[in-house]
């Protein structure tokens, strides 16, 4: 040890300041998380406990006002349903597509590494910009995708354009409020999300596939199993941990995603693409009702915590 090192270790030798104690190591990270994570969160909670009476500017302490309002607000029902539908559908699509494409690209043959590299491109696009790309492509008068769909006969040009189209295959009525499940506008948004994040799934699935041991597959081949059987009985179970992690991480992200809806449909038409985080954004930034917005955002947070914890327990995901 050099002289300086000796000096440093002596300096750090007070009981909790030794480098053997975790505290000094954790201090900077913890400080960051407390100041920028906990403090704003507390502030948000504080905001949710106040309200601004109509026509005035000062906040008034009224803890139950916002927290009871969310239970009687019809928009909350739409927001809740839409958020879960969006998350579920987008997640499922991304998982299926991701796994399929991973299986497709999982080979050491020439050129495939280039294909795999190209597949990561969508990930570096800012989501806000991706949303704009799809906004342009889905434009009812000038969009290339829209024209394609018209040509294929899938969509009728006389109908409202996709991103302003609220027609849906199903609808659900909860507590007197009818919510459409998967209106066209929502499908447009999901399209953008799926395009952007399927490569994420592909990467993860690829990594998972590559780490699978070869022996079981060889044994199964000898026993005469076909590809499909091997996939269902070997690949899937062995990949379960990978799939679980991927679903958890992506699920959380989709749940709190606002970029696509914000740019493409502005929560419309009507409330067709209103989700919890975008509802919070709307309340804050188009009406200035920060208190209620905080409440909605906190509800989102609570839901995320609950569903993730549940998910982690059921699928035994460990850090």
């Amino acid at each position: 040890m050099s002289v300086t090192d000796k000096k440093i270790s002596r300096f750090l030798s007070t009981s909790w300041m030794t480098s053997e104690h975790p505290l000094p190591w954790l201090l900077p990270a913890s400080a960051l998380m407390i100041v920028f994570g906990i403090y704003p969160l507390l502030y948000a909670i504080w905001l949710s406990l106040h309200r601004v009476p109509a026509g005035r500017r000062q906040m008034v302490f009224d803890p139950l006002f916002n927290w009871t309002k969310i239970f009687v607000d019809p928009n909350m029902i739409a927001a809740l349903v839409n958020t879960f539908v969006y998350t579920f559908v987008a997640l499922t699509l991304q998982m299926i597509l991701g796994l399929s494409i991973a299986l497709l690209l999982d080979t050491d043959r020439r050129g495939y590494s280039i294909l795999r590299a190209i597949m990561t491109l969508p990930l570096v696009m800012p989501p806000a910009v991706t949303a704009m790309i799809f906004l342009l492509m889905l434009n009812g008068s000038f969009g290339v995708l829209a024209h394609g769909l018209f040509a294929l006969g899938v969509l009728d040009p006389a109908q409202p354009p996709i991103l302003a189209n609220g027609s849906a295959p199903f609808s659900l009525t909860l507590l007197g409020e009818t919510v459409k499940i998967l209106p066209l506008a929502m499908m447009g948004v999901i399209l953008a999300d799926v395009w952007q994040w399927t490569p994420f799934m592909v990467l993860i699935m690829l990594a998972g596939l590559r780490s699978l041991p070869k022996e079981p597959f060889e044994a199964a081949a000898i026993d005469g199993a076909n590809s499909w059987q091997m996939f269902v009985r070997l690949t899937l179970p062995m990949m379960s941990k990978v799939i679980a992690i991927a679903l958890l991480i992506r699920g959380i992200d989709i749940f709190r995603m606002v970029d696509y809806i914000h740019v493409m449909t502005a929560r419309g038409p009507g409330t067709a693409t209103l989700t919890l985080p975008t509802y919070a954004t709307q309340e804050a930034f188009t009406k200035g009702v920060f208190n209620y917005s905080s409440t909605i955002a906190l509800v989102t947070l609570i839901l995320i915590i609950l569903t993730s914890t549940l998910f982690m327990k059921i699928f035994r995901v460990r850090l």
Partner: protein
């Protein structure tokens, strides 16, 4: 659509369109830079006419005709230089006049030494940031761009300009001429409860515009009434469908203020109003429902993209030659005459089509004025929370001064807020088809003077016109709810609005 329209959508103050200071430098500098003469009008014009871009005539920049008056430069220098080194900020929508803005900034900064920072963002963001600014009293912005639908909401956040003018004579701009502003604007727009909230800044207003070439082709006469409009739109649609041309185009995006604008015009045209004298919502009465049903008829002969378009999209339809007749913002005119437009010189502006007898003002609520020309004017307001009040005040006066307004109109071709501008020779000169045309101005003036309508003046209006009303209308028009039943839609809106008004104790 104009900056102002975007503002509306957001409801919160649209901060300052105040464009940066105009910098006036020497003639050579001006010529070199070519900026001279571009004023806030141009900015306005771009904003008003078409947010797609500045359809003004930038070739005029730098010419003698548009050079700034030396006396103004001197005034700027005298008055402004003691604020040297301060920075004033405002936020505005991304509009074409930024071309001008850039140079104007330097012009203003030169004689005064006051730096001007402009934050150019889409309207939604302007609203968002303004909301934040006001609610949090952040004081980030010195000037606010206030749409007429927000005047009452933000009346308390600005400094009364006329009083300030008297209060600070040493900062007062000579020849400002407060009476020069169109009387209708002064009373209906800037004034709230007897005081001016800001200085009238722009006046986008509805007129009727139709494609002369299509009219000639199908031997139609100029439209005067709503019935003429509907009939003509249907004829054009039937005849020109194959060419990809629709009857009319709408700005019917769900949840956007633009849809509200179209809708209010429709019910006013049917002799209805938004509120009744008893302060209850009357959009669901017979006249209101008739108006909405007619709008649904019009939607049938409009491009389907209309329900996803705001003023910007509507303008694009006109420029691309997709529609035959439109009852909308006069500010589209400079745009449709630009060099890139496919319909250059083909549009004829006329005063807006008239409908049934108007509901008298005393039968409408909250100061609403039903008429045939929907107006979306704005004012420039001086923020109370500004830390550079006086510097911003100087800029504000300069931006709204006679000469600047006239020069801007000359370049941008949009409707000026000052009466004197209409007779300014430079403006009359440009009354022909071409970029930055002013050929529609006589029509606009006639509309402003005689047919100008006004939306209700109440604090909750900004919220209703950007959320409850257009969201429900959107649901109706896109078939998401109400099953095409206009009355049902309006009844739903009535319930929500009446409750909110009652809760707020208005």
């Amino acid at each position: 659509m104009s900056f102002k329209e975007h503002d509306r959508k957001t409801h919160i103050i649209d901060l300052a369109r105040a464009y940066s200071t105009r910098r006036i430098s020497k003639r050579e500098f001006l010529k070199k830079v070519g900026l001279a003469g571009i004023g806030f009008s141009a900015f306005n014009a771009g904003l008003l006419g078409n947010t797609r871009g500045f359809y003004g005539d930038t070739s005029l920049i730098g010419t003698e005709a548009l050079a700034q008056d030396a006396s103004v430069t001197k005034w700027l220098k005298d008055v402004g230089s003691k604020f040297k080194g301060t920075t004033i900020r405002y936020t505005s929508e991304a509009t074409p006049p930024t071309v001008v803005l850039d140079k104007i900034k330097k012009e203003f900064i030169d004689p005064t030494g006051i730096n001007v920072e402009i934050e150019i963002v889409p309207l939604e963001q302007v609203l968002a940031k303004a909301t934040l600014d006001v609610q949090g009293q952040l004081g980030s912005y010195d000037l606010y761009y206030l749409d007429q639908s927000w005047i009452s909401t933000f009346a308390e956040d600005t400094v009364e300009p006329k009083e300030y003018y008297k209060k600070k004579p040493d900062l007062a701009m000579p020849n400002f001429d407060w009476d020069d502003f169109s009387p209708g604007l002064a009373k209906g727009l800037a004034e709230y409860k007897g005081k001016w909230v800001g200085i009238p800044f722009d006046v986008p207003i509805f007129i009727t515009m139709y494609r002369q070439d299509l009219w000639d082709k199908h031997k139609l006469s100029p439209p005067k009434t709503v019935d003429d409009f509907t009939k003509a739109a249907k004829i054009i649609f039937e005849a020109e469908k194959a060419n990809g041309i629709y009857g009319t185009g709408l700005q019917a995006k769900s949840g956007h203020y633009s849809l509200n604008c179209d809708w209010t015009q429709m019910i006013w045209n049917e002799g209805g109003s938004i509120f009744g004298a008893d302060k209850k919502f009357t959009g669901n009465d017979e006249a209101g429902v008739r108006g909405l049903k007619l709008y649904q008829e019009w939607a049938k002969v409009a491009p389907p993209e209309s329900v996803n378009s705001t003023w910007d999209g509507q303008g694009a339809m006109m420029v691309a030659g997709q529609v035959g007749i439109v009852n909308s913002w006069a500010e589209y005119m400079p745009g449709v005459d630009s060099a890139e437009s496919k319909t250059k010189g083909l549009w004829t502006p006329v005063t807006p089509v008239t409908g049934k007898a108007l509901r008298p003002v005393d039968k409408a609520g909250f100061g609403e004025i039903p008429n045939y020309g929907h107006q979306g004017a704005s004012v420039l307001g001086l923020s109370k929370y500004s830390k550079n009040l006086d510097a911003a005040w100087i800029f504000m006066q300069w931006a709204c001064s006679k000469d600047v307004v006239a020069r801007c109109t000359t370049i941008g071709g949009f409707a000026p807020v000052r009466t004197s501008s209409y007779s300014d020779p430079r403006i009359l000169d440009k009354a022909k088809p071409g970029p930055g045309t002013t050929r529609h101005l006589p029509v606009v003036k006639a509309t402003i003077d005689n047919l100008m309508a006004s939306e209700p003046d109440m604090p909750l209006w900004a919220g209703f016109s950007n959320n409850e009303i257009p969201v429900n209308l959107g649901k109706l028009l896109t078939g998401q709810d109400f099953g095409g039943d206009a009355k049902k839609c309006m009844d739903t809106v009535a319930k929500v609005i009446d409750k909110a008004v009652a809760d707020a104790g208005l």
